[in-house]
Amino acid sequence: MGLLSKKDTKLITDPLADNNPITIQVLGICSALAITAELKASIVMSISVLFVLGVGNVVVSLMRNIIPSKIRIIVQLVVVAALVIIVDQVLKAFAYELSKTLSVFVGLIITNCIIMGRFEAFALGNGPWRSFLDGIGNAAGYGAILIIVGFFRELLGSGTLLGFKVLGDPIEKTGLYAIGYENNGFMLLSPMALIVVGVIIWVQRTRNKALVEDH
């Protein structure tokens, strides 16, 4: 990696594992859970957040010396809202069906705590390039969890991945269904998203004891 120094690489890789925004920093859960019933929606949501957080971090970082600290929240909100409007309009233009599935959750990227959290914690104190990397890293960490949850919920809940019937056809009884496998429709209901994330946290903390909280 000639382009990135060791410190810069850490900015990207840290949020993917030991400093994950969802499972460790507890940010950005609001919009993360509701749209993970299908893998496709999770991927699109991750890309949207990647764009908003990457660009937003750069913009806020460029303005960090001229924003008066008293009104910084409102300035940051305007930056995010403008970027989210772009995402929303692009989705409506090129993926209308999907933008219907995501419904208000695209708009809720604005109040996604992960974005304000990274602006406050990183972009306000660092240069544009490092902020960009931090934004990309955190959005990727967020996306990773979203995609894992989306993968399991769609696979176990409807037996498909991105709409392809990977486990066979439940009506014609082919593939796994021939030997009596049934879809677990419960996985598609919203409470299961919480439980899947809970299990991910469990696995992660079992593997890395340093992350364990004392209540």
Partner: protein
């Protein structure tokens, strides 16, 4: 009647936390103690009751397609400003939160001391923006109903955070596996509570199911529920409410 129905629907069936996961960040972060949870919950109710009707007005008279024509004359009827709704809503919310903070500080210092630190947090609470966005997408017809919706959703959020805070206070004395302590177990408990809240789903449709026996297939069950909701509430706007419910269920 309409008000009562919407009120209970927004508290139990469309509960912000359990059905749509709104405001999860502060829900998880501020639920370690019951007293702070009550403070934040009260602040959320307060701000929702103020901002949802305000944003309803904005939506009706500025943002909707043709809304400007209602009061600026026919020349403006062709404008569609709905793409501005995110920025208008969030600006209204941020301003209102500041305003509420100043007013409360001036006239009710005791309340300010208990709510004060939570108010700025609320501007970026997804539950508040979510309330306004759902109000818009469900096409709530009158300002009275919008206020009821804000109040109901706020109370629903309050109940949720109160319940989880009480459970977390007790769970400190239980023997939770180390890796699940803190965040992990909170997620799983919230999931279980959400499953419990799903049982409220039949509250508004209960008892009317006999007439729908002609389509018994399980596959069509969701479609069926959608029809029921539309039939029950009767009003035109319920289509979008039903759509949202189904989306969340899916």
């Amino acid at each position: 009647m309409e008000h009562i129905e919407l009120f209970f629907k927004s508290i139990f069936i469309d509960n912000m936390v359990f059905a749509t996961f709104l405001g999860m960040c502060s829900y998880l972060a501020v639920s370690k103690k019951v007293s702070t949870a009550v403070g934040l919950g009260a602040a959320v109710i307060f701000v929702l009751v103020v901002t949802v009707p305000l944003n309803w007005l904005l939506d009706q008279y500025i943002l909707q397609p043709g809304a400007l024509g209602k009061w600026l004359g026919e020349d403006y009827a062709s404008y569609d400003l709905s793409f501005l709704s995110f920025i208008m809503f969030i600006a209204t919310i941020a301003t209102m939160v500041q305003l509420v903070e100043i007013i409360v500080e001036k006239f009710a210092p005791a309340l300010y001391n208990s709510l004060g630190i939570f108010l700025p947090l609320i501007a970026v609470n997804c539950a508040i923006l979510g309330g306004s966005l759902f109000m818009q997408s469900r096409e709530i017809p009158t300002i009275g109903l919008a206020t009821t919706y804000g109040l109901g959703s706020g109370i629903g959020w309050f109940l949720a955070i109160l319940a989880i805070a009480a459970i977390r206070e007790k769970i400190r004395y239980s023997n939770v596996p180390p890796a699940l302590r803190g965040l992990g177990i909170t997620f799983i408990i919230t999931g279980l509570m959400a499953i419990g809240f799903m049982s409220f789903g039949g509250m508004l449709t209960g008892g009317d199911e006999e007439s729908k026996n002609e389509t018994p297939e399980v596959v069509e069950k969701i479609e069926l529920e959608k029809e029921e909701i539309i039939k029950d509430t009767g009003a035109e706007h319920s289509q979008s409410i039903a759509d949202n419910t189904i989306k969340v269920v899916e």
